[in-house]
């Protein structure tokens, strides 16, 4: 069994995201994309999926400053890298493959659904390597990118510190010029995923630090390449202080790292001094879409597991069945169980659609389409947060479908829930995303990005020619648009008060965007039915869309009521009143 729905992924790639048009004049063709996803499917099935429970039960161990992970994980991580799934995230110049982001992300989805914590190592390496790819010198690219693409070095992102998580302006890690162009790094980093492991020869830490004498706050933060080992193989004074014991994602080591305990940790500046955070932010869209994709994959994995269970588990009889001697029916025969399944389907499928839509925007933006970049900026907080919130909710439903069994570790659904709970927290917490959406993205350029998004959605609504789904989505869109204008004025007047309900706004906007994704999914389903004939698969799309509009888009109105009434109950709650 797979942890994801391959038919849905194919439908979404070829029919909804229209991948064929994107790869038209590239080295790729349909067979190559299928081949890539087949290899992903095989490695994920052979090496990733079987390790889910093992890696959850056998957390990485901290021994004499080393992080030990179970042996089968090492083989899995190597098979993934050896096949080229890290290289797939890089440009060809330094060992990469120059694949479109949408194909890279589709493969990441397959791996994440199959084992999110193993997938983490590759995703982090791509994230770190892309910083070097975008801002590094030729020498830095030569030194680090090729080994990263080949999976000989892995990468990490070292932003957070014990006292500075959401507020990066408060980091205290220092970088002092040595005089030869390099910097001496001292400081403590916290929560570093993949911060230590012994799978690869080296680890390339991308470290945020302050150069003494620089401007205060975020404008004084620089970015450094700090390898675990120097070019000659000698240790670079990066010490593992300890491992964090997490709720989920246990296969990925999570580390407290000390840089320069002995004063001999050397880093190379990436790009210019004091631009570190802005570099990070330029890579943020991809990273955040990646988080949304991971949350979606976990939602999908729970959906698949609970669907399979519901078809097999006999329990109870139809409400109207009076004869207790008849056999019990599988629980999928109960309407409430179908609701639980449909709720999951209705959340995970548009979440995938949005992740792929955004990945496609990354590709279009890279080809110089400025409009795609603007839309991407606008959608990123939603692409990160909505799956983190509502695919987690889907995982809750998956547990419910399994009843008592769902609450045990004999089945994977409770693990998916624990894994997914992280996505709310890292890469900017849910609260931070709400403020990013309402406080920045909606306000930038006098609301130009917001208007562009509205226009794109309206164009799709118009193309749907008055379907019920389109009509109800149009009404919700009008409502959100009106509320946005009101909130934006509030933010201008008083940012603190104005942003107090930013997360609720994030949910409302997210629901409208997902309604839009359902519009796109059903439009594709209708087109395919006309071309190839109708099928159960295609009918399921329409039914899930119907569910989403009836039960979810309908909630937007209530949320907008709260936003429009400018409810300030949380803001006005004084600290002492708790």
């Amino acid at each position: 069994m797979r942890a994801y729905d391959r038919d849905d992924l194919m439908f979404q790639l070829w029919e909804v995201a229209e991948l064929a048009s994107l790869i038209e004049d590239s080295d790729l063709d349909r067979a190559a994309v299928m081949g890539i996803l087949d290899t992903a499917d095989q490695i994920a099935g052979d090496h990733f999926l079987p390790l889910g429970r093992l890696l959850d039960e056998e957390e990485p161990r901290f021994e004499n400053g080393r992080a030990i992970i179970p042996e089968p994980a090492v083989a899995a991580i190597r098979a993934h890298a050896a096949a080229g799934f890290i290289a797939s995230g890089f440009e060809p110049a330094h060992g990469g493959m120059g694949l479109p982001e949408i194909v890279h992300q589709a493969a990441a989805y397959v791996f994440s659904a199959s084992n999110i914590s193993l997938a983490g190592y590759g995703l982090l390496t791509v994230g770190a390597g892309r910083l070097i790819q975008s801002f590094g010198t030729e020498a830095q690219k030569r030194r680090y990118l090729e080994p990263m693409a080949e999976g000989r070095f892995f990468g990490t992102m070292c932003l957070s510190e014990p006292q500075a998580g959401s507020s990066l302006s408060d980091i205290t890690t220092r970088a002092e010029p040595v005089g030869d162009g390099t910097y001496r790094i001292t400081g403590r980093k916290m929560w570093i995923s993949g911060g230590e492991q012994e799978v690869t020869d080296n680890i390339v830490h991308m470290v945020l630090a302050k150069i003494p004498g620089g401007p205060p706050g975020v404008k004084g933060i620089s970015l450094f390449i700090v390898p675990k080992r120097r070019a000659d193989g000698a240790p670079n004074d990066v010490t593992l202080a300890g491992l964090n014991h997490k709720m989920g994602y246990r296969g990925t080591t999570n580390c407290a790292l000390n840089f320069g305990e002995a004063g001999t940790c050397i880093g190379e500046l990436l790009g210019e001094p004091h631009k570190g955070l802005s570099y990070m932010f330029q890579m943020m869209n991809e990273a955040r879409i990646g988080v949304g994709m991971g949350a979606t994959a976990l939602g999908q994995a729970g959906y698949q597991a609970s669907l399979a269970y519901a078809r097999e588990r006999p329990q109870g009889r139809a409400v109207g069945a009076k004869d207790p001697t008849t056999p019990q029916v599988p629980i999928i025969a109960h309407s409430d169980v179908r609701r639980l399944l449909l709720a999951q389907k209705a959340a995970v499928e548009p979440a995938l659609a949005l992740s792929l839509y955004c990945a496609r925007l990354v590709d279009l933006h890279a080809r110089g389409d400025a409009g795609a970049g603007q839309l991407l900026d606008m959608l990123t907080p939603i692409a990160k947060s909505w799956p983190s919130e509502f695919c987690l909710e889907a995982n809750k439903h998956a547990i419910q479908v399994l009843g008592g069994a769902g609450y045990t570790r004999d089945y994977p659904v409770e693990r998916y829930y624990r894994d997914n709970r992280l996505n709310h927290i890292h890469e900017g917490t849910h609260g931070i995303q709400g403020m990013d959406l309402l406080g920045r993205k909606v306000m930038i350029d006098g609301g130009a990005g917001f208007r562009a998004l509205m226009a794109v959605i309206r164009a799709d609504i118009a193309a749907a020619q008055g379907s019920d789904l389109a009509a109800r989505l149009a009404a919700a869109l009008d409502r959100v648009e009106a509320v946005t204008a009101q909130l934006a004025a509030g933010v201008m007047r008083d940012p603190d008060r104005g942003l107090a309900n930013a997360t609720l706004y994030l949910d409302a906007m997210g629901h409208v965007v997902m309604g839009w994704m359902w519009l796109r999914l059903t439009r594709a389903a209708t087109r395919v039915a006309a071309r190839d004939g109708d099928s159960a698969f295609l009918r399921g799309k329409h039914q899930a869309a119907r569910y989403f509009v009836a039960r979810e888009v309908s909630r937007v109105d209530g949320w907008c009521d709260v936003l429009a009434a400018n409810d300030q109950s949380a803001f006005d709650m004084e600290t002492e009143w708790f």
């Binding site: 790729l28 190559a32 290899t39 797939s88 493959m97 190839d532 099928s535």
Partner: protein, 252 residues
């Protein structure tokens, strides 16, 4: 030496097969298709022979519908050098029978002059287990079936075969036809760079008519049915209970 490897596009082994409502066969519409797993093993073995310097060229051949070119692309991505597609049907539901396949292969062999044909022992869709043997008869070549170990040494091959009683090792004269079994090797994953390269490798397209072979079916399928559903199981409390239940059922 050239090695020729026939590969068949079959329903993926992961797919839950459904019988068509009219019982005429299984439903293949919109179903994931893959290379027959035994053929993957044959391709892998051929590539290993090449890597060991015992073969110069690996040619993959597929006979079937046009979409089989995807299967050939997989073979090329694994490491085959070139491919030949023989389009013999435009209906995904039409199975080309072993004799027709063997005749086409025999014609391809005459053209390509390989020193070895490595094929899967059977295709997982119809489980015929016949093509390799028929090809041997048509060509008058030696054959070694169900191989779990293959060694090519000059003008002969030493092949370990999986037979009912265990293993049997035979020596056959080259050129020969070897049909491979499950335990021969573990096929490699097609890596991303090789998948990209595969697009540029030659893939010739032919038709059954090019070889003068009539692929009209000689067999007719009377009926296709689902296997009987498995009866519900029970949980036993102890080994003793298990043994007594097995005795009751007359199984021990």
């Amino acid at each position: 030496m050239k090695v020729l490897v026939p590969v068949k596009r079959v329903i993926d082994y992961n797919v839950k097969v459904r019988v068509k409502a009219d019982g005429s066969g299984v439903d293949l519409a919109n179903v994931k298709m893959s290379m027959n797993p035994f053929d993957e093993i044959a391709i892998e073995e051929a590539i290993r022979l090449k890597e060991a310097g015992k073969a110069e060229e690996v040619i993959a051949v597929s006979i079937g519908v046009k979409q089989a070119q995807e299967t050939l692309r997989t073979a090329l991505a694994m490491g085959a050098d070139r491919a030949i597609l023989v389009v013999a049907s435009d209906d995904v539901h039409q199975d080309i029978e072993p004799l027709a396949v063997a005749k086409i292969l025999a014609a391809v062999v005459k053209e390509e002059q390989p020193g070895l044909v490595l094929c899967g022992k059977q295709a997982i869709d119809n489980d015929m287990n016949a093509t390799g043997q028929m090809l041997s008869a048509l060509l008058g070549w030696s054959q070694a079936t169900f191989a779990s170990e293959v060694g090519v040494e000059g003008d002969h091959a030493v092949v370990t075969r999986e037979v009912d009683g265990g293993l049997q090792t035979i020596k056959v004269k080259m050129p020969t036809i070897i049909s491979v079994d499950l335990r021969l090797n573990e096929p490699r994953y097609a890596s991303l760079p090789n998948i990209m390269k595969a697009k540029k490798k030659p893939l010739d397209e032919k038709t059954a008519a090019d070889y003068g072979v009539d692929v009209t079916p000689r067999l007719s399928v009377v009926k296709t049915t689902e296997p009987a559903a498995r009866a519900a199981g029970i949980k036993v409390g102890s080994v003793d209970e298990l043994v007594s239940k097995l005795k009751e059922a007359g199984l021990v």
